[in-house]
Structure formats: structure tokens, C-alpha cells
């Protein structure tokens, strides 16, 4: 489904952050990427999404065989990629619900489908907001405008639920969430996840993985995946930290 091969990327001053990432994600799989601060986890999702602050130095990223790196940012999203960044951007003046509808209709136009009708969209958003236990405040405000950290993360998952992507790359979705919110958001992700979809979770903590069971756990350090394993690896990292990997 998502295939990342020898991906290298740098920032404007030439500093290389990603130094050859390899990752194969198949439909139905949940992958967790863990790693110390500054290892390149956030950069990975932004590079795959096409953030203009990063330059791809080499390698490839394909989604269902299509070269994502050759696509515009919106085309990547409409092809089925969803990324949630660590700090979702606030956009005052752009209504949250109108934005969601526009995003969904952009995807439908890309796929050659007609615009969604008012009633159908209302039903869809009501259903997803109920799933994530979101109240009406989310409807009237600007995108992420004045939201707490946890509210922003919940709003990200709402977008994911509406856009129904093939692959979701969620960067520290658990940060800023209290215990109840974590349970609700994780429940939402599990609900959206299906056999034809995949999720990549970037996280520092095991606690998210108590709710969303990963098939694979990877350790990213110095811009490379240095170790991969099963769910037990996350427990081992929680216990021992990261240094033992390099010592090994």
C-alpha cells in the first residue's frame, strides 16, 4: 500500500534530516514509529505530505504504486494520504465545517464523483462528531481556532473520519489528550481503520498503543529506522529507553 524506499530529505540550510528511510505498510496494518526527540519522526510525515520546507534528496514514496513525490500536496491527499501534524495549524476565519465540506468535495472532484449533498454531508458529520464525542462548538469556530491541544487532536481525527483516507500518518496524536480524550480518539481511529486501510502512529509513549494495537513498531533515530519489531518492542523501549539499541 505505502512503500517508502531509501527516502532522504533535508531542510533549507542543507542539513539532512532523513537519511534513508525504508518502510513497507500493507493494507490492514498499524505501524508505530517511536524515537527520541529530533530523530526525524515529524519530518517524515511532512516530507511524505509534500511540505515545502523540505527538499527530497532521494528515494521514493508510493501509494498503491503511484509516485507521491511527483504529486502536488492536494493530489497526495486526494489519492488517499492523510497526515496529522504534531501542532495542527489554526486558521481563523475559515469555518471548520465549511472547510471539511470543501476538503471532502475536493477529494470527490479528484475521484470524478459529484459534490456531496447537504443532507448527506450533515448526516456524515453528525455521525462522525458523535463517534468522537464532539459538541457543536466545533461547528461554528474557525479551523482549530482557539482550540486546546486536545481539541485540535480530536478535530484532526474528525477530518480523518470524514476524508476516509487509505493511509493515515498521525504524528503524536496522543499529546495533549487527557485519559478520557485519549480513549475517545483512539476509539475513533480504531473505528475508521479497516482491512483496506493503514495507520502509522508516531508516538513517544506506550499508552496510545494500549488502545491501538500495532502490528509493527519501528525505532527512528538519526534519520533512519534502526530497529523494527512487534508490539513488544514498544514495551521494551518504555522500560529501557533508546540508548540500549545503539549499544547493542
Amino acid at each position: 500500500m505505502l512503500s517508502i524506499k531509501d527516502l532522504k530529505a533535508s531542510i533549507e540550510d542543507g542539513t539532512q534530516i532523513l537519511k534513508g528511510i525504508n518502510l513497507e505498510v500493507k493494507a490492514g496494518e498499524v505501524h508505530a514509529i517511536m524515537g527520541p526527540n529530533g530523530s526525524g519522526k515529524s519530518t517524515l510525515s511532512k516530507v511524505i505530505a509534500g511540505h515545502p520546507a523540505y527538499h527530497v534528496d532521494g528515494g521514493s514514496v508510493t501509494l498503491d504504486g503511484k509516485d507521491l513525490l511527483q504529486m502536488e500536496i492536494n493530489e497526495r491527499a486526494n489519492s488517499g494520504l492523510f497526515i496529522s501534524t504534531q501542532y495542527p495549524t489554526e486558521i481563523p476565519g475559515v469555518n471548520n465545517v465549511e472547510f471539511l465540506k470543501m476538503a471532502l468535495n475536493s477529494k470527490r472532484a479528484f475521484l470524478g464523483q459529484p459534490e456531496i449533498g447537504e443532507a448527506e454531508f450533515k448526516k456524515l458529520i453528525d455521525e462522525k462528531m458523535e463517534l468522537l464525542e464532539m459538541d457543536d462548538r466545533y461547528r461554528d469556530r474557525g479551523v482549530n481556532e482557539g482550540y486546546s491541544g486536545g481539541e485540535k487532536k480530536r478535530n484532526e481525527i474528525l477530518q480523518m473520519a470524514i476524508l476516509d483516507p487509505k493511509v493515515s500518518l498521525l504524528d503524536e496524536t496522543d499529546s495533549g489528550l487527557d485519559i478520557d480524550a485519549l480513549r475517545i480518539v483512539a476509539g475513533g481511529i480504531n473505528h475508521i481503520m479497516g482491512p483496506d486501510k493503514a495507520v502509522i502512529l508516531v508516538t513517544h509513549y506506550q499508552r496510545l498503543l494500549d488502545y491501538i494495537k500495532p502490528n509493527f513498531v519501528h525505532v527512528l533515530r538519526h534519520g533512519k529506522i534502526i530497529l523494527s519489531g512487534g508490539p513488544e518492542l514498544a514495551l521494551e523501549l518504555e522500560e529501557k529507553g533508546y540508548d540500549w539499541i545503539e549499544e547493542k
Partner: protein
């Protein structure tokens, strides 16, 4: 001293005159005044050429009184190149006044509005649909506010030509409040200039100046805003904020805030920001599948919409928001 004599005394606008610092003064044609000035009032204190121009050209004066406690909505339109409107808004009255452009103006168009707002009256003065193709338009306001009055002055400027809005406000009564909101959406060689002076002449008076510019092509905007807080005026509040998004390399903006404060117990602020569309916001929208051109449109519209959001619900706000939605 009549208006013609006063213009002759102060001379044509020049860039070294503080009121005209940013204006392309060379574009102002040398006026050929009538032999006599019908309005014989004394204009010897008037400093602004644009305020004198309609009077010097014997503009037809439209006078209107809005009675105490009345609730009026009106459209004001000048049918000649020069216009003069005198309004007296009665105590506790509410008025909503939309100024329409003269769409058949010739080389130059100049209007003057003298507005006296009595105690506790509330007035919305706004213009949102400027005419295209008027080469040069001056619009001058002289607003006097009594105690407890509120004036919401709102405008949207766009379209071709050179436009200048000048405003002299006198907050004479305790608790008077003036809010000015200006949105300039310019492209090509459009050029829009503001020269605002607000005089706080009583305690607890408040003024808000909020301007936003969306500048494309080789367009140019300027905002020259002065606030004077008088010696006996405690608890004055004034704020001035100008935000500009430059959508092209060739566009430009000039901002000049001036604060003259003669009392210690006041709160006066000013700020100015200038930049491009926020790259992170653009990325966020496009990362959700929205095409980049549509995303730019959304962001510019949001920037414009925010300007009028804090206004109280009113026909003026509705009209301004309608125009913003169509930008």
C-alpha cells in the same frame, strides 16, 4: 476665509505636507475654480485640500436631520463630481447610512460629509461597492460625536483608480466611541490612501482603527492614522492596527501611526504587520486535498472576513459580509 481662498493659501498638495506623505500628488490636476464660492463659511482652520475641494467647487449641499430617537436607514449618493452632505443625527437615534459611489464621475470626484452625532446616538456609516474607473476620488469626513454616541465607520475599497479617504473625528462627549474598519482589496495599479485624525476631547472616549490590505499586482495602499488624547481626557482608549498581505512582488504599503498623548491615564496602542499568505495555513489546507488556488482564496477571504466579525449585528455588517463573500 472661504474654501477657494483657503486652497489658494495652503496651495496644492505636496509630498512634504504631512497630510499627503504617501499620496501620488502629481496625479491631482490643477483645479480651475469658479469665480466665487457660494459657501461663505470660514474654512481658515481646514488643513486638508480634499476637505475644501467640494466646497470650492460649489458642490450641491444635501442636509438631513435624523430626529431624536429615530431609527433610519438611508443610501447616500452624489450625482455630480462634487458633493457635500451635512447630517445631524439626533439624540438616541439609530442610523445606518450606506454611501454609494458616483459611477459617472469624470476626471476627479470629491465628496465631503459633515456628520454631527448627538448624545447616545448610534450610527453605521459604510461603503462597500466602489465604482470602477473613477480616476481620482476624494472622500472626506468630519465627524463630531457627543457623549455616549457610537459611530461604526466601515469601508471596502477595490477597483481601479486612485482613492483617498480622509477623516477628522472629534470625540467631544464622555464615553463617545468610534470604530473604523477599512478593507482594501487592490490589484493592478490601484492605489488607496487613508488619512485619519481622531481627537479625543473628553474622558473615557474610545477609538478603534482596524485596517486590512490585500494587495496584488502593482497596487499600493497607505494608512496615515493620528490619535490625539487631550490634556483633560483620562481613561481614553485607542487602538490602531494595520495588517497587510502582499500577494505580489510589485505591491506595497506604507503605514504611519502618530500618537499625541497629553494625559497619563490613557491606553493607546498601535501595530502594523505585513507579510505573505501564511505558508503553514496554505500547507494545511492543501494537505486536506484543497487545490492551492482555492486554498489561497479561502485564506484571503478569511483575512478579509475577520475584519468585520467583531462588529455588532446590523444591516451594515450584513452588507459588508456579503461583499467579502463575493471577493
Amino acid at each position: 476665509m472661504d474654501a477657494i481662498s483657503r486652497i489658494k493659501q495652503i496651495g496644492m498638495p505636496r509630498r512634504n505636507n504631512e497630510l499627503w506623505t504617501f499620496f501620488p500628488v502629481a496625479k491631482i490636476p490643477m483645479p480651475e475654480f469658479p469665480e466665487t464660492c457660494n459657501d461663505t463659511a470660514d474654512y481658515s482652520d481646514e488643513e486638508d485640500f480634499a476637505a475644501l475641494l467640494p466646497i470650492a467647487f460649489n458642490a450641491q449641499t444635501m442636509k438631513q436631520d435624523i430626529a431624536d430617537g429615530a431609527n433610519e436607514m438611508a443610501m447616500l449618493k452624489c450625482n455630480n463630481d462634487f458633493g457635500h452632505t451635512v447630517l445631524n443625527i439626533g439624540k438616541n437615534a439609530t442610523a445606518s447610512l450606506e454611501i454609494l459611489d458616483n459611477k459617472v464621475a469624470h476626471e476627479i470626484c470629491a465628496e465631503r460629509f459633515d456628520i454631527h452625532v448627538q448624545e447616545n446616538a448610534t450610527v453605521h456609516i459604510f461603503f462597500a461597492n466602489p465604482a470602477d474607473g473613477v480616476p481620482l476620488r476624494f472622500r472626506h469626513f468630519r465627524i463630531v460625536q457627543e457623549a455616549g454616541s457610537k459611530v461604526y465607520f466601515s469601508e471596502i475599497e477595490r477597483g481601479t483608480g486612485i482613492k483617498r479617504t480622509s477623516l477628522d473625528a472629534f470625540l467631544k462627549g464622555n464615553g463617545a466611541r468610534l470604530e473604523i474598519r477599512s478593507l482594501n482589496v487592490l490589484d493592478g495599479d490601484d492605489s488607496v490612501h487613508h488619512r485619519i485624525t481622531i481627537r479625543h476631547e473628553a474622558p473615557e472616549t474610545e477609538s478603534v482603527q482596524f485596517a486590512r490590505n490585500l494587495l496584488n499586482g502593482k497596487s499600493n495602499a497607505s494608512y496615515d492614522g493620528s490619535v490625539v488624547a487631550g490634556a483633560n481626557c483620562s481613561k481614553v482608549f485607542s487602538s490602531q492596527l494595520v495588517n497587510t498581505i502582499l500577494l505580489s512582488e510589485g505591491s506595497s504599503v506604507s503605514v504611519k501611526p502618530v500618537l499625541k498623548i497629553y494625559h497619563d491615564d490613557v491606553e493607546c496602542t498601535h501595530g502594523n504587520t505585513c507579510g505573505e499568505l501564511d505558508a503553514e495555513q496554505l500547507f494545511y489546507l492543501t494537505s486536506r486535498g484543497i487545490p492551492v488556488e482555492k486554498a489561497r482564496e479561502l485564506l484571503t477571504q478569511a483575512f478579509a472576513k475577520e475584519l468585520f466579525m467583531p462588529m455588532p449585528d446590523s444591516p451594515a455588517k450584513e452588507r459588508l459580509e456579503q461583499v467579502v463573500a463575493s471577493l
